[in-house]
């Protein structure tokens, strides 16, 4: 990497607040880790002390940032400093491994699978079972398993040791990280004669375009029909999505959240980490955020931020927390009144 301050401003659509336009940047790093020559960024007020102490030569800052008159660090103001930094990083970072089409000799590809070895990459010890279809430009990582009759779209990245069970369907540009399991049986039993009898799970999982699914996340196949993940939705690691859920488009589901069976989550909902959502609900939508550890048990659709178990509007919940902390004081005052009677 070698880029002048002026070129950086041009690339990011930013404005130089201070620093020589001709100075040259040779790397990038976080504020704390940066060395002279590095570009860094400041997007979160928490890190103001890191900004003051950074050894970076230049920093991307938000628009409106008050540049100190004697700043030793060059500053460029950007509409979104984090996104601008990401753009510079993207520009100068080679892909982790170039796409190399071909089927590794240690892969096990069933002869009835449909894929073009000149346009698809299949890693060592990957398994592609009978009737599976892999779209052009897709990469099946080492040890990944593509089940019978599964269909993978174009330009997908199925990372090392992901499992796509039989008959599941993925759109284009879908990324499934290592260890994720797509399409295991839903958890369904009927209790008969003192035993839990398994209910057949004959549906599938359908994942639409541009979805990303994190490491070791599990998405169960439908009892019948489909468990469905909408376009552009991003799911973090160790998330559980149960059978027959319908997740809308551009939904965010952060790590270790769990969604019980048959629940529908509308477009643009934000589900934070370790949230639990009960089954058979119809929730969310643009502007609906469930904060970390929330337990959702009702059909919440009104925009707002929700906390607690059961989930309540954030302000109500926080007010209750404050009131609970005052309980000792309340009890003391009540006792005094009783004594003064």
């Amino acid at each position: 990497m070698e880029i002048t301050l002026a070129q950086t401003a041009a690339l990011t659509g930013g404005t130089i607040l201070c620093g020589s336009p001709d100075s040259v940047l040779t790397g990038f790093a976080g504020l704390r880790e940066a060395s002279p020559g590095d570009l860094s960024f400041f997007a979160n007020e928490r890190y103001i002390n890191d900004l003051r102490r950074t050894r970076a030569s230049a920093v991307l800052v938000p628009e409106g940032f008050p540049a100190p008159p004697d700043s030793p660090t060059a500053l460029i103001a950007c509409p979104n400093a984090s996104a601008a930094f990401a753009a510079v990083v993207h520009r100068f970072t080679p892909p982790p491994r170039a796409f190399q089409p071909g089927i590794h000799p240690a892969a096990a590809v069933d002869p009835t699978a449909q894929l073009d070895p000149a346009k698809v990459s299949v890693g060592p010890c990957a398994v592609i079972e009978a009737g599976a279809v892999i779209g052009d430009g897709s990469e099946i990582g080492p040890g990944a398993i593509i089940g019978t009759d599964a269909r993978i779209g174009k330009d997908c990245r199925i990372f090392a040791r992901a499992t796509i069970y039989h008959r599941c369907i993925l759109g284009d540009r879908v990324a499934i990280h290592s260890g994720a399991v797509i399409g295991a049986d839903g958890y369904g039993y009927e209790f008969i004669n003192g035993r839990h009898q398994k209910i057949d799970q004959v549906g599938i999982v359908q994942i639409d375009n541009d979805v990303e699914i994190g490491a070791n996340t599990t998405i169960d196949r439908a009892r019948f029909g489909r468990t469905w993940i909408g376009e552009g939705t991003k799911i973090d690691n160790l998330v559980m999505i149960a059978h027959n859920c319908v997740i809308g488009r551009h939904v965010i589901i952060v790590a270790q959240a769990g969604i019980a069976g048959s629940t529908r989550i509308a477009d643009y909902t934000v589900v934070a980490a370790q949230v639990g959502i009960a089954g058979h609900l119809d929730i969310g939508g643009p502007g609906v955020t469930f904060t970390a550890k929330t337990g959702v048990t009702a059909n919440i659709r009104t925009p707002g931020t929700y906390m607690g178990t059961p989930a309540q509007p954030m302000k109500e919940y926080q007010h209750q927390l404050v009131m609970v902390r005052r309980l000792h004081d309340l009890a003391t005052r009540l006792k005094r009144l009783e004594q003064e009677k």
Copy 2:
């Protein structure tokens, strides 16, 4: 699938409430997704509107359901509509993949492993280590790992990329889903001289007949002796069961629940999603249910439903939630009394 309404009633032990006994059903689907010709089912009052709007030709409903006089949909009353539907689905659904005995040439089976290639199925890139024993009728999926001296019973299904560590023992008809890890070391250390020193984990995991274990669930081996999962118990995805736990028979453990070391859970307990159970407890039994997100810290054995952290009887806990919501009102009334003094 092709079955008349009368045949459906016979198969499910149900009674035709309305509809022509000779009408023919050609498929099955959920109420929302159904098309004409489909059989569906109605088992949860939440979905009454879906029932009213369904395009299904026939629906299984609970006994006592009040059939509207002009129902455009044929209705069959069943003692358990969901189970009845499952029976029909089971009848007409081919297994996802027929059991194909044989060892795939890309599997790695140690010559000292004991299995009958004519009666066992071993998928590509599966690994069976020295001394392991696989019972007849069992299927070892692609990429699954069976450790040294492990013993797998008859008619088991070890799905893609499950791991059974050395010396663990599985009964008959056990299903282990993709990515599950059975028998990793328990998490045990002694803190000596400022460092956590590992305690050897020399026990095993024993899993009895008819157990099903979900995707990416982990069950640790015992420090010594065994971590033990009783007959007929069903465990969902991403569950953690620590070393030396003893889980009874026909227990239900839903997704993302975690059970700390050496805890014993009695037969028929229901542990809902994201529950946490402390170590060294002796809990549960028929009629004991821990609802989602509950934190169990004491030896609860009395039948009932428990919530909260620490777990309390549901009614007490819900009453407390109501009282907390009234706190603002209480504080206001207290202030008024103080002012009126």
Copy 3:
């Protein structure tokens, strides 16, 4: 195993409280499971009844334990009975599988990987990609994936089906259990034009000496720079550690805990099971314990035990729980006062 009581006392640094020094022990087991001839241990008061009823021939007990005059069981007092027992078990337990150097013919090792086949063990269906470096004495289990240019130190154990993504760095004597995923992309997006645009995750994960990481745990690579796990830290199963976290040395992180991005956890912190820790925090240190299910949202550094969401000092939190349980009583008394006015 064959060891006299006197030898056991010598090995554990303990003192015989009762029993014949020449009596011979032939095995070891927990108090409940022990048979005559077995050595067992008693370290937790909860199990006093198990001690009274045990069939073990000898038991390691804590110093100061009041030996009953007529004890049928030989007793040895040790400074740390559990650790002493572990030492005996370690002495008499063969490793689960002897280290066998060599590359299994069914492994896929890129010709540019650097490893000494005479000093490294690579299991069947393991994959070692281009440029990876494996230190002497390390074992790569069956089905494990070592990514491009990853570096594994000496005497590491990478268990079956663990994934180490490209460029990640492990120190010496690191253990990574089955299904763990080290170095998947961090969960980072910018919301632009109604879509979540992926931010490149170009950093790595660095894991220092003597770290152990549990089954199916995920540790994401840094956005840039490194996600860093310090020396001697022990992480349990199904834990999530997000991008750019810095975990100190000798930290304990129990099962299903989750730590959001860029948080720093100081040396010797204890994070119990199912804890959630928000992003961008600077927390912990010697004597700081977060109990199970705690939600940490602030920079807690003062030694102490913390509970609840948001995390509070244990005593405060427990006092609040008590007060909440008294709310019904408080409301009744308030009502009485109002009526008596």
